[in-house]
Subunit: 237 residues, 2 copies
Protein backbone atom coordinates (compact mmCIF):
# COMPACT_ATOMS: atom_id res chain seq x y z
CA UNK A 1 0.00 0.00 0.00
CA UNK A 2 1.36 3.39 -0.93
CA UNK A 3 0.52 6.53 1.01
CA UNK A 4 -1.20 9.32 -0.90
CA UNK A 5 1.06 12.18 -1.89
CA UNK A 6 0.38 15.53 -0.29
CA UNK A 7 0.74 18.65 -2.43
CA UNK A 8 0.67 22.40 -1.84
CA UNK A 9 -1.16 24.04 -4.76
CA UNK A 10 -0.58 27.73 -5.42
CA UNK A 11 -4.09 28.92 -6.25
CA UNK A 12 -4.63 32.46 -7.50
CA UNK A 13 -8.24 32.27 -8.57
CA UNK A 14 -7.24 32.34 -12.25
CA UNK A 15 -7.68 29.57 -14.81
CA UNK A 16 -4.12 28.24 -14.84
CA UNK A 17 -3.85 27.47 -11.13
CA UNK A 18 -7.40 26.06 -11.10
CA UNK A 19 -6.35 23.70 -13.88
CA UNK A 20 -3.26 22.76 -11.86
CA UNK A 21 -5.45 21.85 -8.90
CA UNK A 22 -7.72 19.70 -11.09
CA UNK A 23 -4.75 17.85 -12.59
CA UNK A 24 -3.32 17.24 -9.11
CA UNK A 25 -6.66 15.89 -7.91
CA UNK A 26 -6.93 13.67 -11.02
CA UNK A 27 -3.59 12.22 -9.92
CA UNK A 28 -4.95 11.46 -6.43
CA UNK A 29 -2.97 14.16 -4.65
CA UNK A 30 -4.19 15.35 -1.25
CA UNK A 31 -4.25 19.07 -1.99
CA UNK A 32 -3.64 21.99 0.38
CA UNK A 33 -4.31 25.19 -1.58
CA UNK A 34 -2.51 28.43 -0.82
CA UNK A 35 -3.42 31.96 -1.94
CA UNK A 36 -1.68 35.26 -1.25
CA UNK A 37 -3.04 38.66 -0.46
CA UNK A 38 -0.24 40.95 -1.66
CA UNK A 39 -2.27 44.09 -2.18
CA UNK A 40 -3.51 43.17 -5.66
CA UNK A 41 -5.98 45.66 -7.17
CA UNK A 42 -9.06 43.57 -6.65
CA UNK A 43 -9.96 40.99 -4.03
CA UNK A 44 -12.45 38.97 -6.09
CA UNK A 45 -9.69 36.61 -7.22
CA UNK A 46 -9.09 35.73 -3.55
CA UNK A 47 -12.76 34.81 -3.12
CA UNK A 48 -12.58 32.87 -6.39
CA UNK A 49 -9.55 30.94 -5.09
CA UNK A 50 -11.37 29.98 -1.91
CA UNK A 51 -14.43 28.79 -3.86
CA UNK A 52 -12.34 26.88 -6.43
CA UNK A 53 -10.43 25.14 -3.64
CA UNK A 54 -13.70 23.65 -2.35
CA UNK A 55 -15.34 22.97 -5.69
CA UNK A 56 -12.28 21.24 -7.15
CA UNK A 57 -11.72 19.00 -4.13
CA UNK A 58 -8.80 20.41 -2.13
CA UNK A 59 -8.59 19.35 1.52
CA UNK A 60 -8.22 22.88 2.83
CA UNK A 61 -7.42 26.42 1.76
CA UNK A 62 -5.14 28.97 3.35
CA UNK A 63 -4.78 32.67 2.60
CA UNK A 64 -1.43 34.22 3.52
CA UNK A 65 -1.14 37.98 3.75
CA UNK A 66 2.12 39.42 2.46
CA UNK A 67 3.45 42.75 3.61
CA UNK A 68 3.11 44.81 0.46
CA UNK A 69 6.07 47.13 1.04
CA UNK A 70 8.28 44.73 -0.86
CA UNK A 71 5.91 44.66 -3.82
CA UNK A 72 5.59 48.34 -4.63
CA UNK A 73 6.15 49.53 -8.17
CA UNK A 74 3.87 47.24 -10.18
CA UNK A 75 0.71 48.16 -12.08
CA UNK A 76 -0.95 45.20 -10.32
CA UNK A 77 -0.43 46.69 -6.85
CA UNK A 78 -0.07 50.43 -7.48
CA UNK A 79 -3.22 52.21 -8.70
CA UNK A 80 -1.12 55.14 -9.97
CA UNK A 81 0.50 52.94 -12.67
CA UNK A 82 -1.63 52.44 -15.77
CA UNK A 83 -2.62 48.91 -16.77
CA UNK A 84 -1.37 47.92 -20.21
CA UNK A 85 -4.04 47.23 -22.85
CA UNK A 86 -1.79 45.69 -25.49
CA UNK A 87 0.58 42.72 -25.07
CA UNK A 88 4.14 43.82 -24.40
CA UNK A 89 7.40 42.66 -26.02
CA UNK A 90 9.39 43.34 -22.85
CA UNK A 91 8.56 42.71 -19.18
CA UNK A 92 4.99 44.00 -18.66
CA UNK A 93 4.09 46.78 -16.20
CA UNK A 94 2.01 44.19 -14.36
CA UNK A 95 5.19 42.32 -13.38
CA UNK A 96 5.42 42.17 -9.57
CA UNK A 97 9.02 42.06 -8.27
CA UNK A 98 10.11 38.52 -7.40
CA UNK A 99 6.50 37.44 -6.95
CA UNK A 100 6.87 33.79 -7.86
CA UNK A 101 10.10 33.56 -5.84
CA UNK A 102 8.23 34.79 -2.76
CA UNK A 103 5.17 32.60 -3.41
CA UNK A 104 7.29 29.48 -3.90
CA UNK A 105 9.44 30.30 -0.84
CA UNK A 106 6.34 30.60 1.35
CA UNK A 107 4.96 27.41 -0.20
CA UNK A 108 8.24 25.67 0.63
CA UNK A 109 7.88 26.60 4.30
CA UNK A 110 4.22 25.58 4.28
CA UNK A 111 5.01 22.28 2.52
CA UNK A 112 7.39 21.36 5.31
CA UNK A 113 4.79 22.21 7.94
CA UNK A 114 2.08 20.16 6.14
CA UNK A 115 4.46 17.29 5.30
CA UNK A 116 3.77 17.81 1.59
CA UNK A 117 6.11 16.32 -0.99
CA UNK A 118 5.16 18.57 -3.88
CA UNK A 119 4.44 22.20 -4.71
CA UNK A 120 2.33 22.80 -7.82
CA UNK A 121 2.45 26.10 -9.70
CA UNK A 122 0.51 27.06 -12.83
CA UNK A 123 3.16 28.99 -14.77
CA UNK A 124 2.75 28.58 -18.52
CA UNK A 125 4.01 29.40 -21.99
CA UNK A 126 1.93 32.55 -22.37
CA UNK A 127 3.18 34.03 -19.13
CA UNK A 128 6.85 33.29 -19.54
CA UNK A 129 7.02 35.32 -22.71
CA UNK A 130 7.01 38.38 -20.47
CA UNK A 131 7.61 37.46 -16.83
CA UNK A 132 11.14 36.28 -15.94
CA UNK A 133 9.88 34.20 -13.01
CA UNK A 134 7.52 32.12 -15.16
CA UNK A 135 10.26 30.63 -17.34
CA UNK A 136 11.22 26.94 -17.08
CA UNK A 137 14.85 27.83 -16.24
CA UNK A 138 13.63 29.84 -13.23
CA UNK A 139 11.43 26.97 -12.00
CA UNK A 140 14.36 24.54 -12.41
CA UNK A 141 16.71 26.85 -10.49
CA UNK A 142 14.17 27.24 -7.70
CA UNK A 143 13.84 23.46 -7.42
CA UNK A 144 17.62 23.05 -7.17
CA UNK A 145 17.77 25.73 -4.45
CA UNK A 146 14.82 24.19 -2.60
CA UNK A 147 16.56 20.82 -2.53
CA UNK A 148 19.33 22.45 -0.46
CA UNK A 149 17.07 24.66 1.65
CA UNK A 150 15.24 22.46 4.04
CA UNK A 151 14.95 19.43 6.21
CA UNK A 152 13.54 17.00 3.63
CA UNK A 153 16.06 18.11 1.01
CA UNK A 154 18.90 17.33 3.41
CA UNK A 155 17.33 13.93 4.04
CA UNK A 156 17.57 13.20 0.29
CA UNK A 157 13.86 13.73 -0.40
CA UNK A 158 13.61 17.25 -1.79
CA UNK A 159 10.19 18.79 -2.26
CA UNK A 160 9.32 18.58 -5.96
CA UNK A 161 8.22 21.69 -7.85
CA UNK A 162 5.53 20.58 -10.32
CA UNK A 163 4.61 22.93 -13.17
CA UNK A 164 2.41 20.84 -15.46
CA UNK A 165 1.30 23.75 -17.68
CA UNK A 166 4.78 25.05 -18.36
CA UNK A 167 4.73 24.22 -22.05
CA UNK A 168 0.99 24.59 -22.66
CA UNK A 169 -0.76 27.34 -24.56
CA UNK A 170 -3.88 28.92 -23.05
CA UNK A 171 -6.00 26.87 -25.48
CA UNK A 172 -4.34 23.61 -24.35
CA UNK A 173 -4.91 24.56 -20.72
CA UNK A 174 -8.58 25.29 -21.37
CA UNK A 175 -9.04 22.00 -23.26
CA UNK A 176 -7.34 20.02 -20.49
CA UNK A 177 -9.35 21.73 -17.73
CA UNK A 178 -12.62 21.35 -19.61
CA UNK A 179 -11.96 17.59 -19.96
CA UNK A 180 -11.45 17.52 -16.17
CA UNK A 181 -14.79 19.25 -15.68
CA UNK A 182 -13.66 22.71 -14.53
CA UNK A 183 -16.30 25.44 -14.73
CA UNK A 184 -14.04 28.29 -15.83
CA UNK A 185 -16.76 30.86 -15.14
CA UNK A 186 -15.67 30.46 -11.49
CA UNK A 187 -12.15 31.66 -12.33
CA UNK A 188 -11.09 35.28 -12.66
CA UNK A 189 -8.24 36.43 -14.91
CA UNK A 190 -9.14 40.11 -15.40
CA UNK A 191 -6.65 42.60 -13.91
CA UNK A 192 -9.50 44.94 -13.02
CA UNK A 193 -12.56 42.78 -12.33
CA UNK A 194 -15.38 44.72 -10.68
CA UNK A 195 -16.76 44.11 -7.18
CA UNK A 196 -18.85 41.16 -8.48
CA UNK A 197 -15.84 39.68 -10.23
CA UNK A 198 -17.07 40.69 -13.70
CA UNK A 199 -14.28 40.97 -16.28
CA UNK A 200 -13.47 44.14 -18.24
CA UNK A 201 -12.72 42.43 -21.55
CA UNK A 202 -10.07 45.09 -22.21
CA UNK A 203 -6.88 44.22 -20.32
CA UNK A 204 -4.06 41.89 -21.43
CA UNK A 205 -5.31 39.09 -19.20
CA UNK A 206 -8.87 39.27 -20.61
CA UNK A 207 -7.60 39.25 -24.19
CA UNK A 208 -5.25 36.30 -23.69
CA UNK A 209 -7.98 34.37 -21.90
CA UNK A 210 -10.60 35.01 -24.54
CA UNK A 211 -8.18 34.10 -27.34
CA UNK A 212 -7.57 30.83 -25.47
CA UNK A 213 -11.27 29.94 -25.66
CA UNK A 214 -11.37 30.92 -29.34
CA UNK A 215 -8.30 28.80 -30.16
CA UNK A 216 -9.66 25.86 -28.15
CA UNK A 217 -13.03 26.23 -29.95
CA UNK A 218 -14.74 26.14 -26.56
CA UNK A 219 -17.44 28.68 -25.67
CA UNK A 220 -16.09 31.51 -23.51
CA UNK A 221 -18.27 31.44 -20.38
CA UNK A 222 -16.29 34.18 -18.61
CA UNK A 223 -18.55 36.53 -16.63
CA UNK A 224 -17.95 39.83 -18.44
CA UNK A 225 -19.39 43.24 -17.61
CA UNK A 226 -22.72 43.74 -19.45
CA UNK A 227 -21.02 46.40 -21.58
CA UNK A 228 -18.68 43.79 -23.10
CA UNK A 229 -20.40 41.74 -25.81
CA UNK A 230 -18.29 38.56 -26.09
CA UNK A 231 -18.54 38.56 -29.85
CA UNK A 232 -16.81 41.91 -30.09
CA UNK A 233 -13.82 40.49 -28.20
CA UNK A 234 -12.91 38.40 -31.19
CA UNK A 235 -12.17 41.54 -33.13
CA UNK A 236 -10.17 43.02 -30.25
CA UNK A 237 -7.72 40.20 -29.64
CA UNK B 1 32.50 59.24 -10.76
CA UNK B 2 30.98 55.97 -9.63
CA UNK B 3 27.56 55.77 -8.02
CA UNK B 4 27.38 54.34 -4.52
CA UNK B 5 26.12 50.77 -4.36
CA UNK B 6 22.80 50.23 -2.62
CA UNK B 7 22.41 47.13 -0.46
CA UNK B 8 19.55 45.44 1.38
CA UNK B 9 20.87 44.14 4.72
CA UNK B 10 18.96 41.38 6.50
CA UNK B 11 19.13 42.56 10.11
CA UNK B 12 17.87 40.28 12.87
CA UNK B 13 19.13 42.15 15.92
CA UNK B 14 21.79 39.51 16.53
CA UNK B 15 25.55 39.91 16.31
CA UNK B 16 26.11 38.35 12.89
CA UNK B 17 23.75 40.57 10.93
CA UNK B 18 24.95 43.64 12.88
CA UNK B 19 28.48 42.77 11.82
CA UNK B 20 27.29 42.40 8.22
CA UNK B 21 25.81 45.89 8.33
CA UNK B 22 29.05 47.35 9.70
CA UNK B 23 31.12 45.65 7.00
CA UNK B 24 28.74 46.94 4.31
CA UNK B 25 28.97 50.48 5.71
CA UNK B 26 32.79 50.20 5.86
CA UNK B 27 32.61 49.44 2.12
CA UNK B 28 30.56 52.62 1.50
CA UNK B 29 27.30 50.81 0.76
CA UNK B 30 24.05 52.76 1.11
CA UNK B 31 22.22 50.35 3.41
CA UNK B 32 18.49 49.60 3.63
CA UNK B 33 17.98 47.25 6.57
CA UNK B 34 15.18 44.70 6.66
CA UNK B 35 13.84 42.76 9.65
CA UNK B 36 11.04 40.19 9.84
CA UNK B 37 8.37 39.64 12.42
CA UNK B 38 7.58 35.95 11.94
CA UNK B 39 6.14 35.26 15.36
CA UNK B 40 9.48 34.69 17.08
CA UNK B 41 9.24 34.10 20.84
CA UNK B 42 10.45 37.51 21.89
CA UNK B 43 10.20 40.88 20.22
CA UNK B 44 13.27 42.47 21.79
CA UNK B 45 15.43 41.41 18.85
CA UNK B 46 13.13 43.46 16.58
CA UNK B 47 13.72 46.56 18.74
CA UNK B 48 17.44 45.76 18.75
CA UNK B 49 17.43 45.56 14.93
CA UNK B 50 15.78 48.96 14.65
CA UNK B 51 18.29 50.52 17.06
CA UNK B 52 21.28 48.86 15.37
CA UNK B 53 20.13 50.08 11.96
CA UNK B 54 20.37 53.68 13.19
CA UNK B 55 23.51 53.33 15.31
CA UNK B 56 25.45 51.55 12.56
CA UNK B 57 24.54 54.04 9.86
CA UNK B 58 21.87 52.47 7.65
CA UNK B 59 19.75 54.86 5.60
CA UNK B 60 16.45 53.38 6.72
CA UNK B 61 14.91 50.35 8.39
CA UNK B 62 11.88 48.34 7.42
CA UNK B 63 10.04 45.68 9.43
CA UNK B 64 8.07 43.16 7.36
CA UNK B 65 5.44 41.04 9.08
CA UNK B 66 5.22 37.47 7.82
CA UNK B 67 2.08 35.41 8.18
CA UNK B 68 3.21 32.83 10.68
CA UNK B 69 1.03 29.95 9.46
CA UNK B 70 3.82 28.85 7.17
CA UNK B 71 6.33 28.80 10.02
CA UNK B 72 4.63 26.57 12.53
CA UNK B 73 6.49 23.64 14.04
CA UNK B 74 9.69 25.31 15.27
CA UNK B 75 10.81 25.81 18.86
CA UNK B 76 11.50 29.44 17.90
CA UNK B 77 7.86 30.14 17.02
CA UNK B 78 5.91 27.51 18.99
CA UNK B 79 5.98 27.91 22.79
CA UNK B 80 4.88 24.28 23.23
CA UNK B 81 8.19 22.97 21.81
CA UNK B 82 11.08 22.97 24.30
CA UNK B 83 14.18 25.02 23.51
CA UNK B 84 17.33 22.91 23.28
CA UNK B 85 20.02 23.61 25.87
CA UNK B 86 22.82 21.62 24.28
CA UNK B 87 24.21 21.94 20.75
CA UNK B 88 22.68 19.39 18.40
CA UNK B 89 24.39 17.06 15.93
CA UNK B 90 21.36 17.11 13.61
CA UNK B 91 19.05 19.96 12.57
CA UNK B 92 18.13 21.81 15.80
CA UNK B 93 14.54 22.18 17.07
CA UNK B 94 14.99 25.93 16.59
CA UNK B 95 15.18 25.43 12.83
CA UNK B 96 12.33 27.40 11.17
CA UNK B 97 11.10 25.85 7.89
CA UNK B 98 12.63 27.55 4.85
CA UNK B 99 13.28 30.70 6.86
CA UNK B 100 16.27 32.01 4.93
CA UNK B 101 14.60 31.12 1.62
CA UNK B 102 11.63 33.29 2.58
CA UNK B 103 13.79 36.12 3.98
CA UNK B 104 15.98 36.19 0.86
CA UNK B 105 12.95 36.00 -1.44
CA UNK B 106 11.34 39.01 0.28
CA UNK B 107 14.71 40.82 0.19
CA UNK B 108 14.92 40.11 -3.55
CA UNK B 109 11.54 41.80 -4.11
CA UNK B 110 12.54 44.69 -1.86
CA UNK B 111 15.93 45.05 -3.59
CA UNK B 112 14.20 45.53 -6.91
CA UNK B 113 11.87 48.14 -5.43
CA UNK B 114 14.79 50.06 -3.81
CA UNK B 115 17.08 49.64 -6.84
CA UNK B 116 19.62 47.81 -4.68
CA UNK B 117 22.35 45.75 -6.34
CA UNK B 118 23.18 43.58 -3.35
CA UNK B 119 21.54 41.59 -0.55
CA UNK B 120 23.70 40.96 2.52
CA UNK B 121 23.01 38.07 4.87
CA UNK B 122 24.93 37.11 8.00
CA UNK B 123 24.95 33.31 7.71
CA UNK B 124 28.10 31.79 9.16
CA UNK B 125 30.10 28.67 9.87
CA UNK B 126 28.57 28.07 13.29
CA UNK B 127 25.03 28.22 11.97
CA UNK B 128 25.51 26.05 8.94
CA UNK B 129 26.61 23.12 11.05
CA UNK B 130 22.93 22.65 11.86
CA UNK B 131 20.71 24.72 9.59
CA UNK B 132 20.46 23.57 5.96
CA UNK B 133 19.68 27.08 4.74
CA UNK B 134 22.86 28.59 6.21
CA UNK B 135 25.25 26.49 4.12
CA UNK B 136 27.32 28.04 1.31
CA UNK B 137 25.79 25.66 -1.27
CA UNK B 138 22.32 26.94 -0.36
CA UNK B 139 23.41 30.58 -0.67
CA UNK B 140 25.03 29.83 -4.05
CA UNK B 141 21.89 28.06 -5.31
CA UNK B 142 19.73 30.98 -4.17
CA UNK B 143 21.97 33.42 -6.05
CA UNK B 144 21.71 31.34 -9.25
CA UNK B 145 17.93 31.23 -8.91
CA UNK B 146 17.75 34.97 -8.17
CA UNK B 147 19.71 35.75 -11.33
CA UNK B 148 16.85 34.18 -13.32
CA UNK B 149 14.02 35.57 -11.20
CA UNK B 150 13.78 39.23 -11.87
CA UNK B 151 14.10 42.25 -14.05
CA UNK B 152 17.74 43.09 -13.32
CA UNK B 153 18.80 39.46 -13.71
CA UNK B 154 17.23 39.36 -17.17
CA UNK B 155 19.09 42.57 -18.00
CA UNK B 156 22.38 40.81 -17.19
CA UNK B 157 22.90 42.51 -13.84
CA UNK B 158 21.70 39.99 -11.25
CA UNK B 159 21.37 41.10 -7.67
CA UNK B 160 24.39 39.78 -5.76
CA UNK B 161 23.93 37.76 -2.56
CA UNK B 162 26.74 38.79 -0.21
CA UNK B 163 27.50 36.56 2.78
CA UNK B 164 30.79 37.90 4.19
CA UNK B 165 30.69 35.82 7.40
CA UNK B 166 30.07 32.51 5.66
CA UNK B 167 33.42 31.02 6.61
CA UNK B 168 33.97 32.88 9.89
CA UNK B 169 33.81 31.47 13.40
CA UNK B 170 31.92 33.42 16.07
CA UNK B 171 35.29 34.60 17.46
CA UNK B 172 36.36 35.93 14.07
CA UNK B 173 33.02 37.71 13.66
CA UNK B 174 33.36 39.33 17.09
CA UNK B 175 36.95 40.42 16.38
CA UNK B 176 35.99 41.91 13.02
CA UNK B 177 32.96 43.72 14.44
CA UNK B 178 34.90 45.04 17.43
CA UNK B 179 37.52 46.49 15.06
CA UNK B 180 34.65 48.24 13.22
CA UNK B 181 33.42 49.68 16.54
CA UNK B 182 30.25 47.67 17.10
CA UNK B 183 28.88 47.76 20.64
CA UNK B 184 27.71 44.15 20.87
CA UNK B 185 25.75 44.84 24.04
CA UNK B 186 23.13 46.33 21.68
CA UNK B 187 22.70 42.96 19.94
CA UNK B 188 20.53 40.11 21.17
CA UNK B 189 21.27 36.46 20.45
CA UNK B 190 19.36 34.75 23.27
CA UNK B 191 16.44 32.58 22.17
CA UNK B 192 14.48 33.59 25.28
CA UNK B 193 15.60 37.11 26.19
CA UNK B 194 13.36 38.75 28.81
CA UNK B 195 11.20 41.83 28.23
CA UNK B 196 14.25 44.09 28.74
CA UNK B 197 16.27 42.04 26.27
CA UNK B 198 18.37 40.42 29.03
CA UNK B 199 19.93 37.10 27.99
CA UNK B 200 19.33 33.78 29.77
CA UNK B 201 22.88 32.47 29.49
CA UNK B 202 21.44 28.96 29.10
CA UNK B 203 20.29 28.41 25.53
CA UNK B 204 22.38 27.30 22.55
CA UNK B 205 22.59 30.83 21.20
CA UNK B 206 23.86 32.26 24.53
CA UNK B 207 26.48 29.53 24.83
CA UNK B 208 27.80 29.91 21.27
CA UNK B 209 27.90 33.68 21.68
CA UNK B 210 29.74 33.60 24.98
CA UNK B 211 32.25 31.05 23.67
CA UNK B 212 32.87 33.45 20.78
CA UNK B 213 33.89 36.20 23.19
CA UNK B 214 36.08 33.76 25.13
CA UNK B 215 37.80 32.51 21.96
CA UNK B 216 38.30 36.08 20.70
CA UNK B 217 39.72 37.07 24.12
CA UNK B 218 37.33 40.02 24.14
CA UNK B 219 35.24 40.84 27.23
CA UNK B 220 31.66 39.57 26.93
CA UNK B 221 29.51 42.69 27.42
CA UNK B 222 26.22 40.87 26.75
CA UNK B 223 23.40 42.09 28.98
CA UNK B 224 22.62 38.92 30.94
CA UNK B 225 19.91 38.40 33.56
CA UNK B 226 21.28 39.28 37.03
CA UNK B 227 21.05 35.58 37.92
CA UNK B 228 23.68 34.71 35.29
CA UNK B 229 27.21 35.46 36.51
CA UNK B 230 29.26 35.72 33.30
CA UNK B 231 32.18 33.86 34.84
CA UNK B 232 30.06 30.79 35.38
CA UNK B 233 29.27 30.67 31.66
CA UNK B 234 32.82 29.61 30.95
CA UNK B 235 32.20 26.37 32.74
CA UNK B 236 28.90 25.84 30.96
CA UNK B 237 30.11 26.14 27.39
Amino acid sequence: MTTAVRAIILLSGGMDSATCLSIARSQQRICHTLAFDYGQRHRQELSAAQQLSQVLGASDHRLITLDTAAFAGSALTDPSIALPTTPSESIPATYVPARNTVFLAMALAYAEVRAAEEIWIGVNAIDYSGYPDCRPEFIDAFARMAALANRTGIAGQPIRIVAPLQHCSKAEIIRQGTRLGIDYSLTISCYQADSQGLACGQCDACRLRHQGFVDATIADNTRYLPSVPVNSLNGMV
